[in-house]
Amino acid sequence: MTLQHYLVISAILFSLGIFAVLTRRNAISILMGIELILNSCNLNFVAFSRFVTPPENIDGQIIAIFGIVLAAAEAAVFLAIILAIYREFGSIRPDEVDTLKG
């Protein structure tokens, strides 16, 4: 396993995430896409930390852990927003939520 393998996996995850975010018609699926994007970043951090920086430097791992914590917090907030949107609009399809339309 070399750095390249990790980066390829990470890139695939990232693209899948972007795809989900742009095309899905359900806010929960969009959240799942965002989680994929975040995890692809975490994977990059860990991979670079393992292969590029000297072994005693563990900044990459630490940031990955921060990223996981961040994802948890973000999921909590996102789900709360979805709930609020559902109460307001009776739907969680983002294309139906267009009150901001000019």
Partner: protein, 736 residues
């Protein structure tokens, strides 16, 4: 060894954790009592096993806990013979109290919580006992304080209990501040809080290295400050007032925490710190102990509440232990600690058994109200903070003649009383008390020190008074005719879960394990490198030719001449515990202590059984002295009148200052701001600023109307634009 100590500590902690994690939402684990009791019994068995494995040359089992720069705080255990004996005493008394509580607390609405708290207490106490460093001891120390608070206030519906737990917590905190400052003094000097050598040298080794180097005043001060913590926790004068009030807690709690274990923690701490005590700090400790012994004993004479008598008796006995340690009799102090733990726990559980008998009467009489099982504790919610109003089921004047009704309780309590009174030879209390008296007299003779002669006389008188008031309790409770026929009718022997612990403790009030304390290979007192006899002690080897004029000169034993006298004083100081039991001092002390105990019992018999002498007549004759004892030397009044009143007065003063000066300034500033500055800036704001803002808003409005068309409101369109933009930017950068 590590496995055993882990089980000892973790078993009670687990029992508490089960309650804490599962219990709080609903009424708690219904079988918390069984769980906690088995955890304690497991800890007890492991302590016994540990006893057989004890290392003659113990090494601390430590890990580094916190590293801050160059300073590392370690955390670990130190297991020597004294520690293991303490472990056995704590786990055994705790197990028995758990079993007793199953009967005593039966039907209480917070029954599981009681056992959970007992478990937490046991864990904290055991942690305190085995810690090898001051930080660990301090953590355990504060945890037992917390448990004491929770358990004294267990029936918090009663105002008196709620007040008592706050009083206990705050009073001990006064001592703890001193202890913390003492710890910090040692820390600044030695850069470590470990007591024993681990990876680095511990405090005791470092103290040894200080021998004879210059001014040792700071070490005396540090020793006394740490002793302050013990003064609070072990209820020594002047911080003893919380312990009698702590009797508001359930009686098993009084037996476990406020008689056998937690209050003895102060004595244990002082004994642990033995190597850092200097001549003058030892003397302070000895005096505090001696004064406590006699003050508390005299207060106990006139109390009528059975639990208060025992509470003051506990304070007095703790004074004896402190006196022993202050006089250099390390072994005697700890020996008395263990014997006292057993017989005083027995006395408290016995009194609990008596109170329980009367409780039953209460519930019977108030049957129409017993929807709440806790009722019997509520219906006498008298405020008896000053001992003037006593709950009827604890008032010895309502008792009498109970020996036929409660034979087991009577016999076991009688054994404990004989033990605490110092009835010779077949009771453990005699041996330990005699060892203390002998130790003090020995020190007095060796050093030809008037201080220790005074302390010996004080301790002897206190021992006599102890015998007197303990037999007063027995005679008033169990002998004579019933005073309150109605209550007497209802009294009954307690169930077996309550009598079995009494019998076990009664067995331990005989000298069954004494030989351990007389085995010099098993219990070795640590070296005291900074204890010195006054330099004249060697000049006068014949201490019988006691010369008052000479001794008066020693009243000012200063640090300076103590350092000079180090060489010649060394041997005698270290030998203090070495030749116990054979020296003339011990023979004299033994004979005298038998005489005073006999005298105390005789007087008690004449006053309270034969009625040849009238207690009322004596109290009238010596009215001022009686009043002094009855009002407990006015300690509470002093604290209320001086400290509390001062605080309240100070608060009023501050409130007044706040109301007039601070509020005046604030209001004045406010008025000026509003009427002067605000008027001006308001005008400026309305004309100039609003004008500019309105112009800008109009421009924005016009532009916004034009470009609002590009907002579709669909979030995914935005995202597409964002990502497209990013891709565009990346492409541009590649091209450039």
């Amino acid at each position: 060894m590590v496995v055993l100590i882990s089980i000892i500590l973790l078993a009670p902690l687990t029992a508490f954790a089960v309650y804490a994690l599962l219990g709080l939402a609903n009424k708690g684990n219904p079988r918390q009592d069984v769980l906690s009791t088995f955890a304690m019994l497991a800890a007890f068995i492991c302590s016994i096993l540990l006893f057989w494995q004890i290392d003659p040359k113990p090494v601390p089992l430590t890990i580094d806990w916190i590293s801050l720069g160059s300073i590392t705080f370690s955390m670990g255990f130190y297991l020597d013979s004294v520690t293991v004996i303490m472990l056995i005493v704590v786990t055994l008394v705790s197990s028995l109290v758990h079993i007793f509580s199953m009967g005593y607390m039966h039907g209480d609405p917070r029954y599981p919580r009681f056992f959970a708290f007992l478990s937490l207490f046991s864990f904290s106490m055991l942690f305190l006992v085995v810690s090898d460093n001051l930080l660990g001891i301090y953590i355990g120390w504060e945890l037992v304080g917390l448990c004491s608070y929770l358990l004294i206030g267990f029936w918090f519906e009663k105002d008196s209990a709620a007040n008592a737990c706050k009083k206990a917590f705050l009073t001990t905190r006064v001592g703890d501040v001193g202890m913390f400052v003492g710890m910090m003094m040692l820390f600044t000097k030695f850069k470590t809080l470990s007591l024993y050598d681990g990876a680095n040298a511990g405090i005791f080794t470092l103290v040894e290295g200080l021998s004879g180097t210059g001014d040792m005043l700071w070490l005396s001060v540090a020793g006394i400050l740490i002793f302050c913590g013990a003064v609070g926790k072990s209820a020594q004068v002047p911080l003893h007032t919380w312990l009698p009030d702590a009797m508001e807690g359930p009686t098993p709690v009084s037996a476990l925490i406020h008689a056998a274990t937690m209050v003895a923690a102060g004595v244990y701490l002082t004994a642990r710190m033995f190597p850092i005590l200097t001549t003058s700090s030892s003397l302070v400790i000895a005096y505090v102990g001696g004064i406590t012994a006699i003050v508390a004993a005299t207060i106990a004479i006139v109390r009528f509440d059975i639990k208060r008598v025992l509470a003051y008796s506990t304070v007095s006995q703790l004074g004896f232990m402190m006196l022993a340690i202050g006089a250099g009799s390390y072994v005697a102090g700890l020996f008395h600690l263990t014997t006292h733990a057993f017989f005083k726990a027995l006395l408290f559980l016995g009194s609990g058994s008596v109170i329980h008998a009367f409780h039953a009467m209460h519930t019977h009489h108030d049957e129409e109200h017993t929807d709440d099982a806790n009722h019997e504790h509520d219906d006498h919610s008298l405020v008896h903070e000053h001992g003037s109003e006593i709950p009827p089921d604890q008032d010895m004047r309502n008792m009498g003649g109970l020996r036929r009704k409660m034979p087991f309780t009577f016999i076991t309590m009688l054994i404990a009383t004989l033990s605490i009174s110092g009835v010779p030879f077949i009771f453990s209390g005699f041996w330990s008390k005699d060892k203390i008296l002998g130790g003090v007299l020995e020190r007095a003779m060796e050093w030809n020190s008037i201080h220790h002669y005074i302390l010996f006389v004080i301790a002897l008188i206190a021992a006599g008074i102890t015998a007197f008031y303990m037999f007063r309790l027995i005679f008033m409770t169990f002998f004579g005719e019933p005073k309150n026929q109605e209550m007497h009718e209802m009294a009954h022997e307690s169930p077996w879960v309550m009598t079995v612990p009494l019998l076990v403790l009664a067995f331990l009030s005989f000298p069954v394990v004494n030989h351990l304390w007389f085995n010099k290979d098993f219990v070795k007192p640590p070296m005291q490198h900074h204890i010195h006899a006054p330099e004249h002690a060697q000049v006068l080897p014949d201490s019988k030719t006691h010369n008052t004029e000479f001794s008066l000169a020693f009243l000012g034993v200063s640090e300076a001449n103590a350092a000079e006298g180090e060489e010649n004083g060394h041997d005698s100081a270290h030998g203090a515990d070495g030749h116990h039991g054979h020296s003339p001092a011990h023979t004299i002390a033994m004979i005298l202590s038998i005489i005073v105990a006999g005298f105390g019992i005789l007087l008690s018999w004449l006053f309270y059984h034969k009625r040849r002498l009238s207690a009322e007549a004596v109290s009238t004759t010596f009215r001022p002295v009686y009043n002094l004892f009855w009002n407990k030397y006015y300690f509470d009044e002093f604290y209320d009148g001086v400290l509390v009143a001062l605080t309240v007065w100070k608060s009023r003063l501050y409130a007044q200052f706040d109301g007039s000066v601070v509020d005046g300034i604030v209001n004045g500033v406010g008025t000026v701001t509003r009427d002067v500055f605000a008027a001006f800036t308001g005008f400026f704001d309305n004309s100039v600023v609003d004008g500019i803002v309105n112009r800008i808003a109009e421009v924005t409005w016009t532009i916004g109307g034009r470009i609002r068309r590009i907002q579709t409101g669909a979030i995914q369109t935005y995202l597409f634009v964002v990502i497209g933009g990013i891709v565009l930017i990346i492409l541009i950068f590649r091209v450039l």
